[in-house]
Symmetry: C2
């Protein structure tokens, strides 16, 4: 073979190796970030403040390139199966609880500007973002929401967002994203300020039970949506590798 | 370029593509199985009886090729950090609870013969396997175990294994795998037969608390090790994509 062809083959072999490396599933970082994501989602890593810097690209890929959506879809399939198996009492007290941020509507666009959670939490910037009302619906959860409304459940949206500051914009944002027909939107008022999400949300759910509601299901992206007490007959933990709410 | 060289290049291009496909991270099945594993580990998929057939190879790869071990190591790093931050009271009542199967000692070798959980649960075959006493230590958990002993915690092993049938072999198996110096091995006796793991283990832990034990930590591969009541100050969920214990 001529020298020129040998060079071409050598170049091709290099290219080939480069492609193989690029498409390998487990570089050391990807493997670490996958372990980290599992630890976070199973509530083992606790509390955590920021995404490890070396996982910024991993978290972006996860959120943007389909795996996050497939994870949500599989969980919502489970939720829909469960909904289909419930015989409601029908007295207007059959309830589901849904969290708002990164459950019904997404903050991924905002977190992109914060390195997908590698930058520390920035309450002022987050408030400014939420004030715009630009959050987009999370499609698989909107589908569950509509199914619940169709099946005559009372859907109660329960969020740690401050009612005074974010009340109207949250109502508008939910409405313009298709969340229409819910029973109540419960936001944090002054008397709950300073409480952890677990305490605040448990308190609210207990009050709902005292009003006679049966909480059939409870959906949130944070374990603090689903722990404490009165957390409902079944809980669904959605993935969120961007931030942790205690 | 001569026809022969063109053929060589064409063959190389094909080979190159084949390598790239083989090492691609996300075929449809791998992506589904990753979603399924997340759903299982976050207790969203519930209850589940067998691993989906199309995930048999995925689960084998996960368990055998390093990711499972890295997942365990990261969780145990968290646990060790937590241990190092505890000031024990030192009255002999500072306790940790560890599950046995697929927490301290591994059944992966057995589950290999059951298609890594794709085949249905087979109580007789599992009992025959356990009777051999061939389970191997799970290294990151043995490391935690030894650290707990060194730090003068009382380590209590709590398992759903039947005491009458598997008592002696379990003691021997734990011993030959290096689990030496624990406070108690609590196994299921007749009065707990028929109870779910959540009920049985909660009962036992409550009894331990009534004896004065403070449960600082609780480690298990099943959510039923960590839920119910008296579950301890902090829980650590280890991965197990092979089977589900209600």
């Amino acid at each position: 073979m001529a020298r020129r062809e040998v060079s071409v083959l050598f170049f091709l072999a290099l290219l080939c190796k480069a492609i193989a490396i690029r498409s390998q599933p487990s570089t050391i970082d990807a493997s670490f970030c996958l372990s980290w994501r599992l630890a976070v989602e199973t509530n083992n890593e606790l509390p955590w403040r920021t995404v490890p810097n070396k996982c910024s690209q991993y978290v972006e890929d996860y959120l943007i390139h389909g795996q996050y959506e497939r994870d949500l879809e599989l969980i919502m399939e489970q939720a829909l199966d469960y909904v289909n198996g419930i015989s409601i009492v029908g007295d207007g007290k059959d309830a589901w609880i849904l969290d708002v941020d990164d459950t019904c509507i997404s903050n991924i666009y905002y977190y992109k500007s914060k390195n997908y959670g590698c930058d520390p939490y920035d309450p002022a910037a987050f408030r400014a973002w939420a004030m715009r009302g630009w959050c987009t619906a999370v499609p698989p959860i909107l589908k569950l929401f509509n199914k619940l409304i169709d099946n005559e459940f009372k859907v109660i949206l329960l969020t740690g967002r401050d009612k005074e500051i974010l009340g109207q914009v949250t109502i508008d944002n939910l409405h313009n994203q298709g969340f229409i027909g819910y029973e109540r939107l419960i936001m944090r008022t002054n008397i709950y300020k300073g409480q952890s999400a677990v305490t605040y949300k448990s308190n609210i759910r207990k009050n709902l039970e005292d009003e006679g509601y049966r909480i059939w299901g409870n959906v949130g992206d944070q374990w603090s949506d689903l722990q404490g007490y009165s957390f409902g007959n079944r809980t669904f933990k959605l993935p969120n590798p961007m931030y942790f709410v205690p």
